[in-house]
Amino acid sequence: MILPSLALALFIIAYPFADIVNLSLHDVSRFGLLRAFTGLGNFRRILADPSFLVALRNTFMWTAAVVGGTVLVSIPVALVLNTDFHGRGIARGLIMLPWAVSLALATIVWLWAFNGNYGMINALLQRAGLIAHPIQWTAQAITAFPVEIGVGILVSIPFTSTILLGGLSAMPLDIYEAARIDGASPWQQFRSLTLPLLRPFVNIAVVLNVIHVFNSFPIIWIMTEGGPDNSTHILVTYLYELAFRLGRPGEAAAVSLIMLAIVFTFTALYLRMQARETA
């Protein structure tokens, strides 16, 4: 019964994976023809490439900032959505809404909102007296990257708060009753009951988000394509540019494998951490 699923997964995942390993070890023409076996030549070349190093640094900043920001915002959101209040169903629906919008389309809307000349963000900031002149947000790295991080956080909130909400709604109510009888303040209840009970769900949310954000492509590709001057590339966008724009498939394959190694290391670390906790 599991055979069809195994066959499909192997076909779509294992074959491309093997092909990428093979590519990474060869000198590859821009049309994908394998030439000489070069061993680790592609890896050596990519590690000496300054754009790769910038992309690597950006990737860590991007992942840490987006995941950190998302979790920090999502915990209070989930806590509020878990309390009983008028219109809670509507509030939940509204918070979940961006989840339904494709990342690519959401990015286009934000790109337009941050448009330097006619965008609504500049207009609002100017009307509030916060800036004197319109800012060309996406034309310079110093503003483009933070804008992309902000959009990244915003689109990750629905998924994250849904997971946390699921955790909160599964919590037993009687322990809160007991705590209240013992005279615990709401803050004490939060610190010593809610947070520890929520921990596993926060962990899950962090791990899933790290994997997802680390591989997130559309926001940066659509907003800046890694520019200006390769300054906003993260590894995925650089990988795509190497493979399909610059015609360096061998090196792109090497970047793929480096990224896979990072994802696997992270997951292994997490699994070990979890095993130690349950032991």
Binding site: L8, D19, V80, M96, V109, G167, S169, S256
Partner: protein, 281 residues
């Protein structure tokens, strides 16, 4: 917990910053889509149009090949979902009912494929599609390639979600049917499947939405406008253009988003439960 107005007000106030940011893109979409072209590029920009106009919805239908894109997105989404469900229902059932040899490693395998994002393998996928020849052409720039690729990448999540729902369906009912002389397959079809149907429906919708919203694989594999999905058609109107008809782009974005958004709001409570169950078990 009791509901009172003071608490409700406080809760809404606490949520308001996030809500504003969440709804902001929708406000931008509406505001721009309802303007005539002449009013889009005025400075300073204003929220409400001076002359309300639905023209951009008509104009984008042609400019974006919206009808074609819609058809492609629907075809690709529906067929991938069908393929995923056909393959993952038996797998999910086996995973939660039979203690077969290698079950642990199968789980491990699923978890691993779940972590592999399509972007990382997109180069290999492209070469895979290019290496398969049918009728003298390759699978590059065909919907079939995208359908199979989507199915492959959504499989692990679907099996995982189905298995966690399936294990909540009590085994006793099926066992009772066997005792009454009902065959294994008949028990599955008449007893198990009706009970599992809501779970299958939820999984199918989640898969469909994931396919509908996918970007990288479609960007790489689909080249000609007659085969591209809605998302790609809209992105093409913006990427690398000097003049962008923002009112048409926003109209198209809105039209591509609203059906999926409605589906999601309706699904929301099932999702909360499903993710909580699947995530921690």
């Amino acid at each position: 917990m009791r509901r009172d107005w003071k608490r409700s007000l406080l809760c809404w106030a606490a949520l308001s910053p996030v809500l504003v940011l969440t709804l902001f893109p929708f406000a931008i979409m509406l505001s721009t889509a309802l303007k005539p072209t002449a009013e889009v590029l005025i400075y300073p920009p204003r929220w409400l149009p001076i002359h309300w106009s639905l023209h951009s919805f008509v104009a984008m239908w042609q400019a974006v090949h919206f009808g074609v894109g819609l058809e492609n997105s629907l075809t690709i989404g529906a067929l991938s979902t069908l393929l995923v469900i056909a393959v993952s229902v038996p797998a999910g059932y086996a995973l939660c009912r039979f203690p077969f040899a290698g079950r642990a490693s199968y789980r491990q395998f699923l978890l691993t494929t779940q972590m592999l994002s399509p972007v990382l393998l997109v180069l290999g996928l492209f070469r895979l599609a290019a290496s398969i020849h049918i009728d003298g052409t390759t699978l590059v720039d065909t919907r079939l390639a995208v359908i199979v690729a989507y199915a492959g990448f959504n499989l692990a999540f679907a099996i995982w979600m189905l298995a966690s729902y399936f294990s909540a369906v009590p085994t006793e009912l099926e066992e009772a049917a066997w005792i009454d002389g009902c065959g294994r397959l008949r028990a599955i079809i008449h007893i198990f499947l009706p009970l599992a149907l809501p779970a299958i429906a939820v999984t199918a919708i989640v898969t469909f939405v994931a396919c509908w919203n996918e970007f990288v694989v479609a960007l790489t594999l689909l080249r000609s406008p007659s085969k591209q999905t809605v998302t790609l058609q809209v992105v093409n109107l913006v990427a690398g253009r000097y003049t962008v008809e923002w009112n048409q782009v926003m109209a198209a974005t809105l039209a591509a988003t609203v059906p999926v958004a409605a589906l999601f709001i309706w699904l929301q409570r099932y999702l909360v439960r499903g993710l909580a169950l699947g995530g921690v078990k």
